[in-house]
Amino acid sequence: MPTEGGRRPKLAVWKFASCDGCQLTLLDCEDELLGIAEEVEISYFLEASSATDPGPYDLSLVDGSITTRQDAERIQHIRSVSRRLVTIGACATAGGIQALRNYADVAEFRAAVYAKPEYIATLATSTPISAHVPVDLELRGCPIDRGRLVEVITAFLAGRKPDVPDHSVCFECKLRGTPCVIVAHGTPCLGPVTHAGCGALCPAYGRGCYGCFGPSNSINFSAFIPLLRRDGMDTLDVVRVLRTFNTAAPEFDAASREEARR
């Protein structure tokens, strides 16, 4: 993305409720890290640098979901000082595994973990960044894929749209040449309803996809859930497999609630 005066664009990386894995993906780009640092100015990235620049920033990468009142305020400020805001990972994009609190009584959760729950300030829900501010792009995955992160940053630098297809994992299985685990082994697999991006890892290792990239652009749960049942899952199994890292993604949420009502 061109910036005024030919200066390097400023990159910021922000953390909310998460495991840090998605921002860590940037540090896992061993081959690209020093190169990226020459093209952009890393202005705010606490995990990597104790220097902090107050902004504004050309590109903000946001890791994590909103679970406290202070964080709900902080994301407003970050949006106001960011030209582009990209969420990275399932927490920032769908609320993460911590969104399992959305189905429970958070006061009971707090009491289950902490002896003095009154010390702990938290919201009753875990929500994605897009529930609070406009988001320019959502990068999915628990965790995100390293190659896709580099693609988003390079596309941003070149001023073009990043190439991040939203079809299902099935496409990636075919590209990889992995035999279908559903057809060949009757293994329950969320690949048909899950967003691509991991390279169809799980089927390549002989297990069914567990949906860590969230819903794809083409889902049909009313046709799909009977397949899971045919392959041996009962209602509880189906609810559990939908209620993990993308549990609050609207499509997974609706399907698991419908299943739980059965």
């Binding site: 409720a17 998460s18 540090l27 220097a51 107050p54 002896a115 890892l201 290792y205």
Partner: protein, 468 residues
């Protein structure tokens, strides 16, 4: 405050640690009256939502506690669930788990050494700045880190939140050919790791000690990583020795099934992490503790590198209690992990099955492994169908919190004796003291906010930009 001179320092957002933390320090008449490591990482309630899940799910679910050490969570979870079900994984599958864990150690320890810790020794803010003056060393470190990732990617599918680990073993095991090409790369990196140990041993280290009990797993005959018995070494003051004494002291071991009787968590009002104490006393887990408990079982090449780096010989009862020098111990552990990975690969025969069956039964299981930053304990209670009815995770940073606070008190007290430091100096020093222990705040709940209280001058607030 009345009478004497008081100051308060606050650091609102600690950099180069994993997660969100702050520090609050109060000084009165040259004495540290308060040193709090405040963890404000938002709570995520894993122990609550694990209830009701299947016994096969904790490895995948708890890996999401921490993006930096997911393998540690997966393998502590597997051990605890298998223990509850009365299954023991040994032989070739256990060796593959150890190989996987070596990959995480290499990856996580080199990340801490180069990206988080080394910049402190060169007065740099980040690895990017460090690379301007130590380019070759940083590039060597990134290559080493990549070789650790390569192990985890081959055995686990990907380096963050691996998908190939399950209760009972793996979904798929590697072929000998796949491991052979990995070994070629690791043999090159073993030489690089020797050079890395030499590099960090040349840093300028402040004199320091730590008067904590040291807790690590012990597995006689091996440097304990993925299994072992919790073993604690006395604190030097109990033997009338100074905190920086480099002598090994008596140890005591306890069965992992009694972990909860020995390591007790308590809650403090300023933190979303639970503090832990060992038999009522402060303790430290991590590299310094492992080196003290298991150092004699390092491989010859790692022992030689440790000796050349000035760490002495653990077979002669030498330990290291200077937290600033923990970076050397981490580097030695990277070298050992590469050497150990090569040993496992050289004798590898694929297991008959990628996993053994682990039928559920009612009961409680315990599992402990050595995460890169210290001992990680899991406990699960299952019903007869395998549904989790109770879960408890005790991460290393929660255990280390008390020790880190004591290190802060000690270091600041000693610094104040040498004259009046500025707030900026004191803050930088405190951050270093915290980074010495590679805190993982996502694990312990997560985040550091440093505050030094001083009524005589405007308090420094280093909070990240907020809308407020």
């Amino acid at each position: 405050m009345n009478g004497g001179k008081s100051r308060e320092l606050k650091l609102g957002a600690l950099g180069r640690v994993e997660g969100e933390g702050a520090l609050h320090l109060c000084v009165h008449n040259g004495e540290v009256t308060e040193a709090r490591l405040k963890i404000y990482e938002p709570p995520r309630f894993f122990e609550a939502f694990l209830r009701g899940r299947a016994h096969t799910e904790p490895p995948d679910i708890t890996s999401r506690v921490c993006g930096i050490c997911p393998v540690a969570y997966q393998l502590s979870a597997c051990r605890a669930v298998e223990d509850a079900c009365g299954t023991v994984i040994d032989g070739r599958l256990a060796a593959l788990r150890r190989l996987l864990y070596c990959g995480e150690w290499i990856e996580s320890q080199t990340l801490h050494i180069h990206l988080l810790h080394a910049p402190d020794f060169f007065g740099c803010d980040s690895v990017i700045e460090l690379a301007r003056i130590q380019r070759a060393e940083v590039e060597r470190g990134l290559r080493l880190k990549q070789s650790g990732n390569a192990i985890v990617e081959l055995l686990g599918g990907r380096s963050i939140h691996p998908i190939n680990i399950r209760v009972g073993g793996f979904h798929r095991v590697p072929t000998r050919a796949e491991l052979r090409s990995l070994a070629e790369r690791l043999r090159r990196e073993r030489d690089a790791a020797v050079d890395m140990v030499r590099w960090v041993s040349g840093f300028d280290f402040p004199d320091a000690g730590c008067d904590h009990e040291l807790l690590a797993l012990a597995e006689p005959g091996s440097y304990a990583i993925e299994s072992g018995t919790p073993t604690a070494m006395d604190a030097p003051s109990t033997a009338g020795l100074p905190a920086d004494a480099d002598r090994a002291l008596p140890t005591r071991a306890f069965d992992v099934h009694t972990f909860g009787d020995h390591v007790v968590e308590r809650q403090v009002p300023y933190s979303t992490a639970l503090h832990s104490v060992l038999d009522g006393r402060r303790h430290l887990t991590g590299s310094l503790a492992r080196y003290a408990i298991s150092g004699r079982w390092l491989s010859p090449i790692a022992l030689e590198a440790a000796r050349d780096a000035g760490l002495g010989d653990p077979r002669q009862g030498t330990v290291c209690r200077n937290p600033f020098r923990s970076i050397i111990v981490r580097a030695v552990e990277v070298l050992y992990a590469i050497d150990e990975a090569l040993r496992i690969i050289d004798t590898y025969e694929p297991p008959a099955h990628p996993a053994v069956k682990v039928p559920p039964r009612a009961g409680t299981g315990h599992g402990a492994t050595e995460a890169p930053r210290g001992l990680l304990y899991h406990r699960y209670t299952l019903d007869a169908k395998g549904t989790v009815t109770g879960a408890n995770l005790v991460p290393p940073t929660a255990q280390n919190q008390g020790a880190i606070e004591e290190d802060l008190r000690r270091t600041v007290r000693e610094r104040l004796r040498d004259g009046e430091p500025t707030d900026a100096e004191l803050t930088a020093l405190c951050e270093r003291v915290i980074r010495n222990h590679d805190p993982c705040i996502s694990c312990s709940a997560h985040f550091l906010d440093l505050r030094v209280h001083r009524p005589h001058s405007a308090a420094r607030e280093g909070n990240p930009p907020t809308g407020a």
